[in-house]
């Protein structure tokens, strides 16, 4: 049987995988701090005894879209969004550091600052941030967290810690299976960059462009139909060659 049918099959299969990637972006169109994934297909020539005239398709996730998401005002004093570059440092399930743009913070009963996914937020000291009982909390432009302790007057603001905000090389950053970003090579724990700025009372939305994703979903659908058409054509070709053999 002609191998063209297998080539068309990989095309259709990888169209489906690409579809999954775009639909994941769309599903997370309203997830706080979500970064969309790029998807691309690569031609993989098949080398063998013959000319390398065939090429399988190969879907990849080469990178993540690091463009900024929309700023959504919430008025919640613990919501923080990064203006411009940078990532918050949080603790992942293994206790290691991971990086995220997600800034919808809240406090646990023991005062630990966590983000919307429940990951503890790491401070400039390198450990998780713990807030003592407070009456009012303010997060400054540089990430400094100051509180008015419960029962204290307005002139008794105390600086507790600061948010650790890092400025990694985006080329060297990869999204892990838990959705957190980590450097691919080199030091896994990055240094705090004091030059980065945040704004409190806002969260950063998802940077998914729904029009782009939906257009891709529709385009992939048509491409998939072409692959199936190709398989059908191969089937017809096989059938006609059978017929020729029967006549002779």
């Amino acid at each position: 049987m002609d191998r063209a049918i297998y080539i068309a099959m990989t095309g259709a299969k990888h169209n489906m995988l690409a579809q999954a990637s775009h639909s994941n972006n769309l599903a997370n169109a309203t997830t706080t701090g979500f970064r969309a994934d790029w998807e691309q297909a690569r031609a993989m020539p098949v080398f063998g005894e013959y000319y390398p005239s065939r090429a399988f398709s190969n879907t990849e996730r080469p990178a993540t879209d690091f463009n900024d998401g929309p700023m959504v005002e919430t008025g919640n004093e613990l919501d923080v969004a990064i203006t411009g570059d940078g990532f918050f440092a949080v603790q992942d399930a293994d206790g290691n550091e991971g990086y995220t743009r997600r800034g919808d913070f809240s406090v646990t009963p023991v005062g630990q600052l966590i983000n919307g996914s429940g990951q503890p937020v790491i401070g400039q000291g390198g450990g998780p941030i713990v807030l003592p009982p407070y009456e009012k909390v303010e997060i400054g432009e540089d990430g400094t967290i100051s509180i008015r302790p419960a029962g204290a007057g307005p002139n008794e603001m105390a600086v507790i810690d600061g948010l650790k905000i890092v400025n990694p090389d985006l080329q060297n950053l990869e999204k892990g299976t838990d959705g957190l970003f980590r450097p691919v090579e080199g030091e896994q724990v990055l240094e705090d960059d004091p030059a980065l700025r945040v704004v409190s009372g806002f969260v950063e939305g998802s940077n998914v462009n729904p029009v782009h994703e939906l257009t891709n979903v529709l385009a992939l659908n048509r491409q998939y139909e072409l692959q199936v058409k190709m398989m059908k054509t191969v089937e017809e070709v096989t059938r006609s060659s059978e017929q020729i053999l029967r006549m002779s």
Binding site: S117, P133, K229
Partner: protein, 262 residues
């Protein structure tokens, strides 16, 4: 089957919950002491289809792999305890807390609940009760013939008995409680909240002292829902839902197409 079908489904579910949250906020836009909620989402785990950096041959490496996300998940709904506007009503038993804190309410089963809704009434025995008839804790009993009742910013309740303005008696004080993480309280309906492991234990205090809010007599705290914000959220939720449903139908068409044509 088609991955995108399931991923699209998680997106539909998430937007469904978001819309339910928004509509509950809208429905309670004029509920006294209501605190708005927002649905919190996170991306589900990613599946590694092909490991980046794996050897494609003995001498070459795959420059990038394929990791596919599996959709979105609702982590929960978070109550936002920002202060609502204070609405003056001039009713002596309407109380608002300006700042942090909750009133304590004794439930019929003996447990305590907490509320920001200060619409209080008197029952047939002269006790201060909520609109549902539950007692305010600690219990305040008004004597017969009470002509005026005054509740101070620090919660002290005094009453004037009869026509004699000299006959002022102190009836008790209203305490307020606070939580480390009010967002962790469980909403129980009837404007009441219950303590949970996430909220931490209640800390009882005197209003206006130690960081607790002050009690304002003759005012009510309105809901902190902003209609404009909810409307905008509703529109974007609807569009997002439509797009996710488009993914589901597209994935279905792809499967349908191959079964019909091959």
């Amino acid at each position: 089957m088609h991955k995108a079908l399931w991923v699209g489904k998680t997106g539909l579910e998430a937007q469904d919950i978001a819309l339910a949250t928004i509509s509950n906020n809208m429905a309670n836009a004029s509920t006294t002491g209501y605190k708005k909620e927002r649905a919190v989402f996170e991306d589900l785990i990613y599946q590694v289809q092909r490991q980046p950096g794996a050897q494609s041959t003995q001498n070459t490496q795959l420059p990038s792999g394929l990791q596919l996300g599996t959709g979105v998940r609702t982590v929960g709904t978070q109550k936002l305890f920002t202060q609502g506007d204070l609405n003056t009503t001039e009713q002596p038993l309407d109380l608002a807390i300006n700042g942090r804190g909750f009133f304590q309410i004794l439930l019929p089963d003996g447990n305590l609940a907490y509320t920001r809704d200060g619409t209080f009434h008197l029952n047939d025995e002269g006790q201060i009760v909520t609109a549902s008839g539950y007692l305010l804790e600690p219990d305040i009993q008004l004597p017969e013939q009470t002509s005026t009742i005054t509740i101070g910013e620090d919660g002290i309740v005094t009453a004037v008995i009869g026509n004699d303005n000299q006959n002022v008696i102190q009836l008790g004080d209203i305490e307020v409680v606070d939580f480390v993480n009010p967002a962790g309280l469980q909403a129980a309906g009837k404007n009441l909240f219950l303590e949970t492991a996430a909220s931490g234990p209640p800390q009882v205090g005197v209003p206006s002292l130690d960081g607790f809010g002050s009690i304002i007599q003759g005012a009510l705290e309105t809901s902190n829902v902003t209609i404009v914000e909810e409307m905008v959220d509703m529109i974007s939720t609807q569009r997002s839902y439509e797009m996710n449903s488009k993914v589901v139908s597209t994935a279905d068409q792809m499967l349908g197409f191959i079964t019909q044509n091959l």
